[in-house]
């Protein structure tokens, strides 16, 4: 696979093959969302400015456009490069308000204190919620999470790191709001996993 060099300007580093790349990235994400806990390879198709990672940028370039406000965490807004790259390559408006975001990209999950500031949707339109993309260093070497729910045969295991503070408790609250709630997309190195709101976290010893 040809390695795309890091972009020197925000105008570079987008999809070379937008149709093929976005389809490949979407199918990986769809499979990840349909089978929580499974890890799916992502092609190296984007070269965004740091600290946005190749995985997270491929996902946002696949999903976002002018109809979907994007929220960025403070780690991604230290300079304007990431914001400008996303705006140029997707046309998505950047929002300062979590509750208005269709997508959120989080480069420092460990500093994200609350999940309930994002849009959870309404009881009648639970789909009007934020999909939160967490950039993680690993999906296999963190503290193990045990998952149950739709898409999972029995139980599944995932060990992403870093995660938001008090993640297990926060996820429990998110699950209790069902059908409202956020969906989490875990963007690891060249791979993706997902925890839709339907997923339950259970204590490993249970």
């Amino acid at each position: 696979m040809p390695h795309t060099p890091p972009s020197t300007t925000i105008y570079e580093g987008g999809f070379a093959d937008p149709v093929g790349a976005s389809q490949t990235v979407f199918r990986a994400l769809m499979d990840a969302m349909a089978q929580p806990g499974t890890i799916h390879a992502l092609p190296h198709v984007t070269a965004p400015p740091a600290p946005l990672t190749a995985s997270a940028s491929a996902l946002i370039a696949t999903l976002a456009d002018a109809d979907t406000p994007v929220w960025l965490d403070p780690a991604l807004t230290k300079t304007s490069a990431v914001r400008d790259w996303i705006v140029f390559h997707t046309g998505a408006p950047i929002t300062l308000h979590q509750s208005e975001a269709a997508f959120a990209v989080v480069a420092a999950p460990e500093k994200l204190s609350a999940l309930n500031g994002f849009a959870l949707g309404s009881q009648e339109f639970p789909d009007r919620s934020t999909s939160v993309i967490l950039q993680v260093a690993t999906l296999t070497d963190g503290a193990a999470l045990t998952l149950e729910g739709p898409g999972i045969k029995g139980r599944a295991s995932l060990a992403p790191d870093p995660l938001p503070q008090h993640f297990t408790e926060q996820w429990k609250a998110n699950r209790q709001a069902f059908p409202r709630g956020i969906d989490v997309i875990l963007a690891g190195p060249a791979c993706v996993a997902a925890m839709p709101r339907s997923t339950r976290l259970i204590r490993p010893e249970a």
Binding site: G20, Q23, L63, E124, D127, G151, F178, S198
Partner: protein, 312 residues
């Protein structure tokens, strides 16, 4: 059994995108699919586009397939259980042309199966996606014509009226008379319409290995059932859900416990029952299974089913 498309798409016709839909429409549909998967059984509104085929030809399913399909996919399309009806042939040709994908009639070889009525008899495997063409996605519509009201009923899990309707069936007929579009409850939360599939197929939706996606073009709804998800047909303790039973096996392949279509043989009332799933029937005959109509003679080629009519 896999047919490869003769030409790569858009080489001589650059006027449409891969799989016909523009990228912005695909993104919008893809986002709806992800929400549908995250909230199993919930109907996600989407901005359905005009397709170069009339509503009723599965424009919702076609849009879902167009949004997910890639160059390496192998597509199977069935109408009733058959791969060879006009509707199925047209949709297969549409994607062979616009996406250059390989097509197949063999269930296990397909990565995406688009269907109008049936779930294949061959159990689906992990990684496969079953895309349903849905005419009426709202299971509560016949009870309540107003969308704002049905949405409220889903929001509040107010499904009492649906149970009352089913129970009226029992009072009138001694059993639940609904045989198609028999409502299910997904993961204990949303009541969902499996759409025009016969209730015979409802149990196949439960804990399927495959991802199931539903697209309603005219009604602008997408919904989903992830693999390994609980799908329960609504019923009552004293009147449990039952699938249709057929008195005789398939006349061609002898299969039992499959869904059969009635085929009229002549104008004197002669008829036979054969597998609705043509691939299943053909593979059984290829394995040497023989139904009553074929007798014990050695088979010289397959019996053509040109006069096959749906038993609707």
């Amino acid at each position: 059994m896999i047919a490869h498309a003769a030409d790569a798409p858009a080489q001589n016709l650059a006027s449409y995108n891969f799989a016909y839909l523009d990228e912005q429409t695909k993104r919008m549909i893809r986002r709806a699919i992800l929400k549908g998967i995250a909230i199993p059984g919930y109907q996600v509104p989407f901005a359905s586009r005009e397709m170069p085929m009339p509503y009723g030809w599965g424009t919702g399913g076609v849009q879902v397939t167009a949004a997910i399909i890639g160059r390496d996919d192998v597509l199977k399309v069935i109408d009733q259980g058959a791969d060879d009806t006009t509707n199925a042939v047209s949709i297969r040709a549409f994607f062979a042309k616009t996406a250059g994908v390989a097509t197949t009639t063999t269930t296990p070889d397909a990565t995406i199966i688009q269907t109008r009525h049936r779930i294949p008899e061959t159990p689906l495997h992990a990684g496969q996606v079953l895309v349903y063409q849905v005419p009426i996605p709202e299971p509560l519509r016949f009870l309540e014509p107003r969308e704002t009201e049905t949405r409220k009923m889903h929001a509040l899990e107010e499904y009492g009226l649906m149970h009352v309707k089913l129970y009226e069936d029992i009072a009138r007929n001694g059993r639940i008379a609904t045989t198609y579009a028999y409502p299910v409850k997904v993961e204990g939360r949303y009541v969902m319409d499996p759409s025009p599939t016969p209730k015979f197929d409802n149990p196949k939706m439960h804990m399927s290995e495959a991802l199931q996606l539903f697209g309603a073009g005219r009604e602008k709804r997408i919904y989903a059932i992830p693999p390994h998800t609980e799908v329960v047909s609504l019923d009552f303790e004293d009147h449990p859900f039952e699938i249709q039973h057929f008195d005789e096996p398939c006349a061609l392949c002898g299969a039992e416990q499959v869904y059969l279509d009635e085929v009229v043989l002549d104008d004197k009332g002669g008829r036979m029952f054969v597998c609705s799933d043509t691939h299943h029937c053909e593979s059984r005959r290829a394995e040497g299974h023989r139904g009553a109509l074929l007798g014990d003679e050695p088979a010289f080629g397959d019996q053509p089913l040109t006069d096959k009519e749906p038993a609707l």
